[in-house]
């Protein structure tokens, strides 16, 4: 797969990052390099090899179903640009 300007533009849009026209030219080869490296790795024959999620012998840790967090409304809202009666307030998002 090759990364052209329109692909960079699409990725930027999906990530909600504003990228100028000149920067598209700057990022395209960088992303292309990363992708080429991944493509190179894919040349290795992994037939019969189980996918490896982690190199150390650890398993997913679980927690018991206990309520021991929350009740920090002030902290949660601390960075909100606007609040009303405990709600975050944002620009209207329905069409």
């Amino acid at each position: 797969m090759s990364i052209d300007k329109s692909t960079v533009s699409k990725i930027a849009n999906l990530a909600r990052i504003k990228v100028t026209e000149e920067d598209l030219d700057y990022y395209a080869p960088q992303l292309q390099n990363i992708l080429s490296w991944a493509e190179q790795l894919q040349e290795v024959d992994t037939t019969g090899v189980e996918p490896l999620a982690n190199v150390s012998e650890i398993t997913l840790s679980l927690r018991p179903d206990v309520v021991n967090d929350g009740n920090i409304q002030q902290d949660i809202l601390a960075n909100a640009p606007e609040t009303v009666e405990g709600f975050f307030v944002v620009t209207k998002i329905v069409e």
């Binding site: 997913l60 206990v66 009740n71 809202l77 620009t91």
Partner: protein
């Protein structure tokens, strides 16, 4: 509406698949220790994990895993011992992470099957494609301000099971039957409370139409259907719309449509093309989830008796018909009530009393079975009084009304009010004689061939005995005396 639409160019078959989001019954969230209660103050049940503060890490709730496995077993499905959490990326103000942690390629539950009960009394098997675990998003409120939306993150991070069906459903009735059965199974398992109004169970409906037996048509996904009735109405509207589009030379575009309950129509959400580019990838914060077969086996052993098993047992061991059995098993509490009431009494008569009298009376008062004044033992005792001829079926209804009002034992009410059935031949004979003596004209008419007057005599005797005379004995004595 059936599964077939009669179009201008012939018959069209409605094909439906469902995606049901069921909130898992648990104290805390899927990946954090914040509470999950419905209706709390906004943003009070939010941890720094749920608010997606930088550096916070998700830790999986083991009980939610258990609940998902139990549900999978209840759906007769394959449990995948190895499953993977992935990130589903999209932006929305009520999704602070910018992605939903979900399962994509490797869900915890694979293929299963459930049986639905159709209005005709027949059953049909519906395939379950998969069940996976995922986080819920927060809630946006759009109607409080002209230009702003309000966001509450209390629901953010609550555990959901997404249950996907095969496109095996045909027509609105089967869709309704599927939702009803699925909800019943979840409630029996106590893995989801199935509350459609509070949104703890939500359905997305995939609808397409095709010529019967032909290739599957292009589907539209309908969102915002939050009652079983709405699901049926949305399917009726949407399938008719699709047939019209196709028959007028158009084609169906695969899209998400919103059900508008006030206008009674579905409409395109006009989402941007790229909105569905979710760029799933394994969540680097979470290792694959591995469950042991022994854990699954252990859960299997503790599974309650499920609706279909219970229905068949009720039909076999209590001699009930399919309809009565299906009414009684609709809720676990109701089935338990029935079984307790039927203990030692005529099971068919008890079923009748539970379904027609008790549920009817509770429904009229707007009460649930849990709020019933009458206990299962008391209802059983009432049926016992009818069976041993202490009271007649007619008097029993009066006793029952008194039980509903006061919560007293039926035997005490019968005693206090002197409602005991008169089975003394002498006493009944005396009343019969009185009635015959008081109505010479009617006696003559009856003897002259007006058979219908027999009912009149029975009524008079019952009235004089204040309803307490044994009806069979009254019949016998009257026949004797009037012949």
């Amino acid at each position: 509406m059936s599964a077939i639409i009669k179009g201008a160019t012939g018959d069209w078959e409605i094909v439906i698949g469902m995606e049901v989001h069921a909130q898992i019954t648990a104290n805390s969230k899927l990946f954090s220790g914040a509470a999950t209660d419905f209706g709390s103050a906004p943003n009070s049940q939010v941890s720094l994990v749920d608010a997606a503060m930088p550096g916070m890490l998700p830790v999986l709730n083991e009980y939610c895993v258990e609940q998902a496995v139990r549900t999978g077993l209840g759906l007769n499905a394959q449990i995948n011992l190895h499953s993977v959490f992935e990130r589903k990326n999209y932006f929305y103000p009520d999704l602070p992470q910018g992605y939903q942690i979900s399962q994509f390629l490797h869900p915890i539950v694979g293929k299963g099957v459930i049986e639905i009960d159709l209005p005709s009394g027949e059953t049909k098997e519906i395939g379950i494609t998969r069940l996976h675990l995922e986080q819920d998003a927060g809630k946006s409120i759009h109607d409080q301000h002209p230009t702003k939306s309000f966001v509450d993150l209390n629901r953010s991070g609550c555990a959901l099971m997404e249950i996907v069906s095969e496109p095996d459903l045909r027509g609105p009735e089967e869709a309704a039957a599927y939702l009803t059965k699925l909800r019943m199974i979840l409630r029996y398992l106590e893995t989801c409370d199935g509350n459609l109004e509070e949104g703890s169970m939500r359905a997305d409906v995939n609808v397409s139409v095709r010529k019967p037996g032909g290739e599957l048509g292009t589907r539209c996904e309908i969102k915002n259907v939050n009652s079983i009735k709405a699901v049926q109405m949305a399917i009726e509207y949407e399938s008719t719309r699709q047939v019209e589009v196709i028959e007028n030379g158009g084609s169906i575009k695969q899209e998400t449509r919103l059900w508008d309950p006030t206008k009674g129509e579905t409409r395109s959400m006009r989402s941007k093309e790229e909105a569905h580019d979710y760029r799933y990838f394994p969540d680097p914060d979470l290792l694959p989830l591995v469950v042991e077969q022994s854990f699954v086996d252990q859960l299997k052993e503790t599974l309650p008796e499920l609706p279909d098993q219970k229905k068949h047992r009720f039909m076999q061991s209590y001699g009930l018909g399919a309809y009565d059995a299906s009414v009684l098993i609709m809720e676990r509490a109701r089935a338990n009530f029935y079984e307790e009431a039927a203990q030692g009494h005529d099971s068919k008569i008890v079923a009748n009393w539970v379904i027609n009298e008790l549920l009817g009376a509770l429904n009229k008062d707007g009460k649930t079975l849990e709020e019933s004044q009458v206990t299962a033992k008391q209802l059983g005792a009432l049926v016992g009084l009818i069976s041993d001829q202490t009271i007649s079926g007619k008097i029993a209804k009066d006793v029952f009304a008194e039980m509903m009002a006061s919560g007293k034992d039926p035997a005490i009410i019968v005693e206090e009010k002197g409602l005991k059935q008169v089975t003394d031949t002498g006493a009944i004979e005396k009343i019969v004689d009185e009635v015959i003596a008081e109505n010479p004209d009617n006696v003559a008419a009856y003897k002259g061939g007006k058979d219908k007057l027999f009912g009149f005599f029975v009524g008079q005797v019952m009235k004089k005995s204040q309803g307490k005379a044994n009806p069979d004995m009254v019949n016998d004595l009257l026949k004797q005396k009037l012949s």
